[in-house]
C-alpha cells in the first residue's frame, strides 16, 4: 500500500503504532511494517512531518534522549491521543462495515443477474410464431 492510498488515515495509523509504548521515528516505521506484514510501504522520511503535526495537535508528546552519541526524539501518546485513537478506530470500523456491506451486496446482485442470464440462454422462451 502506497502513501497516497493511506491519505486521511495516516494519523490513526501512527497513533496505533505508538499504542504499545514510546517509539522514535524509525521504530514507528518498523512497527507499522511488522503489524502489516510489510504491506504498508511509506517513504520513511514522510512520517516525521506527520509526527510533528500530531505533536502540535497535542495527540503525542516528544522527548529527547541521547543514544550512541546521537540525539533521538521519542514520541508517546498523550491522554488526548489515546482518546483520538479510540475514536478513529470506532469510526474506521463503522466505515469499513458500511463499505464492505455495500460492496458485497453489489456482488450478490451481479451474481444473481448473471445466473438469470445463464438460465435464459439455457432455456430460451418458446417462439410465439
Amino acid at each position: 500500500m502506497r502513501a497516497e492510498e493511506l491519505k486521511g488515515h495516516l494519523d490513526a495509523v501512527l497513533l496505533a503504532a505508538l499504542e504499545g509504548g514510546p517509539r522514535h521515528g524509525y521504530a514507528v516505521i518498523e512497527a507499522l511494517r511488522q503489524s502489516t506484514d510489510g504491506r504498508l510501504d511509506l517513504p520513511t522520511g514522510t512520517i516525521y512531518p506527520a509526527l510533528r503535526r500530531l505533536e502540535q495537535a497535542g495527540l503525542i508528546a516528544g522527548t529527547w534522549s541521547v543514544v550512541g552519541g546521537r540525539r533521538r526524539r521519542e514520541y508517546r501518546l498523550t491522554p488526548a491521543g489515546i482518546r483520538a485513537l479510540s475514536g478513529r478506530r470506532a469510526a474506521w470500523r463503522d466505515f469499513s462495515a458500511t463499505v464492505t456491506a455495500a460492496l458485497e451486496s453489489a456482488t450478490r446482485v451481479n451474481t444473481a443477474l448473471e445466473n438469470a442470464a445463464l438460465e435464459d440462454t439455457a432455456c430460451p422462451s418458446p417462439n410465439p410464431a
Binding site: H24, G25, P43, G45, Y48, P49, A50, R70, R71, R73
Partner: protein, 192 residues
C-alpha cells in the same frame, strides 16, 4: 552522522539542513542513520546501503514540503490573514464614525505602508514552501502587525482621549491580534 558514513547520506542531510531547523535535522539524521544501519546489517555494502536508505527515506523535496505544511509560522500567518479583514473592518468603522484620525497625515501614510508590507510578509509566510523563509517572514509580519496595532491604539487614545463604542471594539480586537502575534512569533522563533 559520523564522517566514515557515505557521502550520499551526508549530502542528503546537508540539503535538509540548509532549509530546516537544527532539531528537525537531528531527528531526521537519527532516522536515516537507523535506516542505513538496517541495510548494512542485512549485508549490503556501504554505498548500496546508503542508496537504499536514501531511496527508502524519500526525496529531500518531499520531506521539505511535508515540514513546510506543518510549519507553525505558516499556520500563524494563515490565522493572521483570516483575522486581518476583521481588525481592518473594525478600525475603518471606528474611525469613520468617530471622525478621529490618529496622528498627522504623514504618520498615516507610514502606517499604510507598514500595513502593506505586513500583508506581503504574511502572505509569503502563509504560502511559502521554504521553511526558514516562512519562519523569518512570519516573525517580521507578526512584529509589524503588533507595532501597527499598538500605534493605532496609542494614536487614537491620544487624539480622542477616551475610547467608546466601535473604537473600544477596534482596540479590543487589535489587542487580541497583538497577543496572537506575540504567541506566534515566540512559536516561530522556537522553530528556527
Amino acid at each position: 552522522m559520523p564522517e566514515s558514513e557515505p557521502r550520499l547520506i551526508r549530502g542528503y542531510l546537508q540539503v535538509l539542513a540548509a532549509q530546516l531547523p537544527g532539531p528537525i535535522v537531528e531527528e531526521l539524521t537519527d532516522g536515516l542513520t537507523e535506516t542505513y544501519r538496517s541495510y548494512r546489517t542485512r549485508g549490503l555494502p556501504a554505498d548500496a546501503a546508503a542508496e537504499a536508505a536514501v531511496e527508502e527515506f524519500g526525496s529531500a523535496q518531499e520531506i521539505l514540503a511535508g515540514f513546510a505544511r506543518v510549519n507553525p509560522a505558516r499556520q500563524a500567518a494563515r490565522r493572521l490573514l483570516g483575522l486581518g479583514p476583521v481588525v481592518g473592518g473594525c478600525w475603518v468603522a471606528a474611525l469613520v464614525t468617530s471622525r478621529v484620525w490618529p496622528g498627522p497625515e504623514p504618520a498615516r501614510v507610514v502606517l499604510g505602508l507598514v500595513l502593506i508590507a505586513c500583508i506581503g510578509l504574511t502572505f509569503v509566510a502563509a504560502l511559502g514552501r521554504r521553511y526558514r523563509v516562512a519562519v523569518y517572514s512570519g516573525i517580521a509580519g507578526c512584529a509589524g502587525f503588533a507595532a501597527l496595532d499598538a500605534s493605532l491604539i496609542v494614536g487614537t487614545l491620544l487624539v480622542a482621549g477616551r475610547a467608546s463604542g466601535l473604537t473600544a471594539l477596534a482596540i479590543a480586537v487589535s489587542s487580541a491580534r497583538i497577543a496572537l502575534c506575540a504567541r506566534a512569533a515566540v512559536a516561530a522563533q522556537q522553530n528556527t
